[in-house]
């Protein structure tokens, strides 16, 4: 549960001069009435379709409190600020009144997982509709009470003014207001032009607390009687515990309980450092049977191409319908290593087993609803006996170890009923055991005409899964697989259209006459994998946009002109043109060692548009790539909070530069060897270039998810810029000085 403290409004206004806010809302839903006439339940907006009661979303208190309940959670992306803006605007209350409860399985509407850039498309319209309907109900009540018509009322911060000077207020009506009713879908939300908060400069609600030392994170919870837990991970993925003498650890200072269940080992102690010390002693005492079964990080790309896929999926099959044969065929293969989520805070949770038998877990999981069910399955209890409450954690960028920490805290708390147990992983545990973004191989082939334009486009990709989230199954929780009665991991599926997973953005947005995409979906997983910002989109866009550049170069055409030749989508064309203009593409002068590159995608082909243009300088002597500057142009539909969108695009761009320049999870035949920030370095302040983000607002258009839109275009723009600077094409990240130097001298 995330509770954002009501902040004083003057603070907002003072800050407002320098900040813009974005995210996107379209106007009303007219589908509802027709459905109602037909006797069917009306189609309700976004996640309201599956959480239909108004009371699931809003509470109005006689004390002047407005409580907004949402199932989506704050991951640092600013979603809670955006939905609070919408709620305050639709309800006509001061934003400082709105208290938010998010991601509490006992209270919040079940909105599934907070992922896939779905929060603005699915949560925001539901909040808007709920607030609009509650406002309409209150006006009806005010009209009935004062004997005036329901038309012609205005509301200012809950104070209602009606015809002939009639007065009422939300708070005096609150006790008679029943929200235990389904939304009708018939109330039309406001015209976007009438919004006071939405689309305006608006600072994040959680920042003042975070920047002044208030308890804002799960890591900062300190319930009464708190104990500290740690776990001992096996040395390798499939190791089995063969012997463990716990007696020495049990006698260590502060140790309350050693928990051993199959190959799962943990400890609970009075103090945090005592738990750490006891876990180290247990790790030293444990004997394991280990395997040497990994294909190594250098061998993974061969492994991907040689392993029999569980499924070969024709993601797109569009053979060209006649016409001349291609004049020339070009081919290239691209490689993406495993990437880490790499949260700065290691995953953590606080769990307590109550006297009522309910395990309550404070967690930064993205999927509190499904994770609570998976944990119930692991514990062998009814799902009503596990309650998860979302509390913010470090940014996660996908499925990291948040859910594993929740599960481990529960395993430890079950051993000490009544006492809350806090667990925060070590850096080594987080680095070595988190589920990485899958390595991928992507082969592209294009037949072109005499002008170099694409006639036939073929893309074939090889990937392990991109989704192993808890999904209500204990087998997806790491520790559950090591228990005495282990839970087997369910075989992951590749997500289909329209979102896709391994093949996300595998279908280029370009209008190629012939266009085939083949997905080799491999369910063997030599290292643990799951959803990492963008799933397959990063690698697929990296390949598509790199190859487009190679084709443009082969055709002797400017890469931007070449893209525009193949792209009809007008909003796609607009962001490419905007990025080029902002970068100064036409005025740019080539200097020795410098290069420029562009990359573009519409995330998932259904979410936000983003084009990135950047300039690099490559030191040919030592192979060092420096990004000189970067610009991004984005179209996220109707912007709710422009600064929120800018922040997400710039952050995604910088993270993608880090992936592409520096990052690769290394492993030998036994274990992952990227175990800290030295062995898995990321971009630092000195490496980060100036970034300019320009937004194209589309008032009234649907909100388009933005959080993952920059990942693919950035990686490709970087590869293209390096090729432009050096004349050498690099198709495998990361572009480390060693790799670039080797490529330049090859």
């Amino acid at each position: 549960m995330t509770v954002i403290p009501a902040t004083d409004r003057r603070g907002f206004l003072k800050a407002a001069g320098s900040i813009t806010l974005a995210f996107a809302i379209p106007a009303g839903d007219a589908l509802a009435q027709a459905a109602a006439l037909a006797g069917a339940k009306p189609k309700l907006p976004g996640d309201m379709e599956t959480n239909r009661k108004l009371g699931s979303w809003l509470r109005i208190g006689a004390d002047g409190a407005v409580t907004l309940l949402v199932g989506k959670v704050e991951l640092g992306q600013g979603i809670l600020t955006a939905v609070t803006q919408i709620c305050a605007d639709e309800l006509d209350v001061d934003i400082g009144r709105v208290k938010l409860i998010s991601g509490d399985t006992a209270q919040s509407p079940n909105e599934g997982t907070t992922a896939g850039s779905f929060s603005m498309p699915n949560c925001a319209p539901a909040v808007r509709q709920a607030a609009a309907e509650v406002r309409a109900l209150l006006i009806e009540m005010a009209a009935a009470k004062t004997g005036k018509p329901a038309e012609g009322w205005t509301v200012a911060d809950g104070a209602m003014s009606g015809p002939d000077g009639a007065k009422a207020s939300y708070w005096e009506l609150a006790s008679g207001l029943s929200l235990e009713r389904e939304a009708t879908g018939a109330v039309k939300p406001k015209n976007p032009a009438d919004y006071k908060y939405v689309g305006k400069e608006f600072p994040r609600l959680d920042f003042p607390g975070k920047f002044t030392g208030q308890a804002m994170f799960v890591q900062e919870l300190r319930p009464e009687g708190l104990l500290f837990g740690q776990v001992v991970r096996p040395p390798t993925y499939k190791a089995k515990l063969t012997a463990l003498d716990t007696s020495a650890a049990e006698k260590m200072p502060g140790v309350v309980k050693v928990v051993k269940n199959g190959s799962f080992v943990g400890v609970v102690a009075q103090r945090e450092e005592q738990a750490v010390a006891a876990a180290a002693a247990l790790a030293a005492a444990a004997k394991w049977e280990v395997e040497k079964a990994l294909p190594t990080s250098d061998g993974i790309f061969d492994w991907l191409q040689k392993t029999k896929p569980a499924k070969v999926i024709e993601t797109k099959k569009q053979p060209r319908n006649g016409g001349d044969p291609a004049v020339k065929t070009l081919e290239a293969t691209y490689f993406r290593p495993y990437h880490m989520h790499g949260s700065i805070g290691t995953s953590a949770a606080v769990a307590v087993l109550g006297a009522d038998g309910v395990m309550t877990i404070d967690t930064h999981s993205q999927s509190v609803f499904e994770t609570s069910e998976a944990i119930a399955m692991m514990l062998g209890v009814d799902k009503s006996k596990v309650r998860c409450r979302h509390v913010q954690g470090s940014g996660c960028y996908g499925h990291n170890m948040a859910d594993d920490a929740a599960a481990d805290a529960a395993l430890l708390a079950a051993a000490v009923p009544g006492r809350p147990v806090k667990l925060q992983y070590t850096r080594e545990q987080e680095h070595r055991w988190e589920p990485y973004g899958s390595a991928m191989v992507i082969k592209t082939k294009a037949g072109v005409d005499k002008d170099g334009n694409v006639l036939d486009w073929d893309l074939e990709l090889f990937s392990t899964p991109h989704g192993t989230r808890p999904g209500s199954h204990a087998g997806n929780l790491l520790s559950a697989r090591y228990l005495e009665k282990p839970f087997e991991m369910p075989t992951p599926q590749n997500g289909g259209p329209p979102n896709y997973a391994a093949d996300r953005n595998g279908i280029a947005l370009y209008d190629f006459p012939g266009h085939n995409v083949l997905t080799n979906f491999i369910t063997d997983m030599p290292v643990r994998v799951s959803s990492t910002r963008g799933l397959g989109a990063y690698a697929n866009v990296f390949a598509i946009e790199s190859f487009m550049d190679e084709l443009a170069r082969a055709a002797g055409v400017d890469p931007i002109q070449y893209r525009l030749r193949h792209l009809k989508d007008p909003r796609g064309r607009d962001v490419i043109a905007k990025a080029a203009e902002t970068f100064g593409w036409d005025k740019w002068q080539k200097k020795d060692g410098r290069g420029r590159g562009i990359g573009f995608a519409k995330y998932k082909n259904i979410a936000g548009y983003c084009a990135v243009a950047l300039e690099v300088e490559v030191n040919k002597r030592n192979g060092r790539v420096r990004v000189v500057r970067a610009v991004a142009a984005a179209d996220s539909g109707h912007l709710v909070n422009p600064d929120g969108v800018r922040n997400q695009i710039e952050g995604g761009l910088i993270q993608s530069l880090s992936w592409t320049l520096k990052e690769e999870v290394k492993f030998d035949d036994t274990r992952v060897t990227s175990e800290d920030w030295v062995t898995y370095p990321i971009l630092t302040f000195a490496d980060v270039p100036p970034v300019e983000v320009v937004l194209i607002d589309r008032p009234g258009a649907p909100f388009l998810g933005t959080g993952e839109a920059a990942q693919g275009p950035t990686g490709a723009a970087l590869a293209n810029a390096v090729a432009d600077a050096t004349g050498v094409r690099f198709r495998r990240g990361p572009f480390t000085p060693e790799r670039v130097k080797a490529g330049l001298t090859a």
Binding site: G11, A15, S18, I19, L75, G76, Q77, P203, R204, D206, F207, P208, K210, F211, T212, G213, Q214, M216, F217, Q219, E220, R222, L226, F228, P253, R271, E272, E273, G342, S343, I344, G345, T346, Q392, G393, S394, G395, Y397, Q424, T426, R427, N647, Q648, E650, G651, G652, L653, I654, Q655, S658, D676, W677, V678, I682, T684, F685, A686, V688, P690, V691
Partner: protein
């Protein structure tokens, strides 16, 4: 029992001498802000000021601050209001998740105390050991420069 000055106030902690300062701050003294990130002085999330100098509290034994002055994020506030630097972080919206921000602010405060008029490069150099995964670096730099300008 270890005594030291925390945010200007004398405190005592009943903790083992070799307990990391970070855990004592978090768990014994209820201090927020400083956070565990790596336990190896590699990320800066746990940064506090000891006698005005930035230090990684995850890797410092609590006994080593006996009798000394420790300042954390809350210690920068002025009469419960954000300090100039904290306000500059708010004004620049200089974070996404905000987990690393406490360490950034402490590191930046130490820079400003030493060099009230830093350049962009000075700020980047001072913060180069503080990791941010959300990509808020440029906003953080702007916030520090804004605080310097408004000081």
């Amino acid at each position: 029992m270890i005594s030291f000055k925390l945010n200007g106030r004398e405190v005592k902690a009943d903790a083992p001498d070799d307990a990391p300062l970070l855990f004592v701050l978090n768990n014994d003294l209820g201090v927020n802000g400083a956070k565990f990130g790596c336990g190896k002085s590699q990320c800066g999330a746990c940064t506090v000021l000891i006698e005005g100098e930035p230090a990684r509290s995850c890797s410092i034994k609590v006994s080593s601050v006996a009798g000394r002055s420790v300042v954390t994020l809350a210690g920068l506030t002025e009469n419960g209001k954000p300090s100039k630097l904290q306000q500059a972080f708010i004004d620049e919206q200089a974070a996404q998740c905000g987990y690393c921000t406490s360490g950034m602010i402490m590191q930046a405060q130490a820079l400003l105390d030493r060099n009230p008029n830093p350049t962009d490069a000075d700020v980047r150099s001072a913060l180069n050991g503080n990791l941010c995964r959300c990509g808020s670096h440029n906003r953080v730099v702007r916030a520090v420069l804004r605080a310097a300008k408004e000081a």
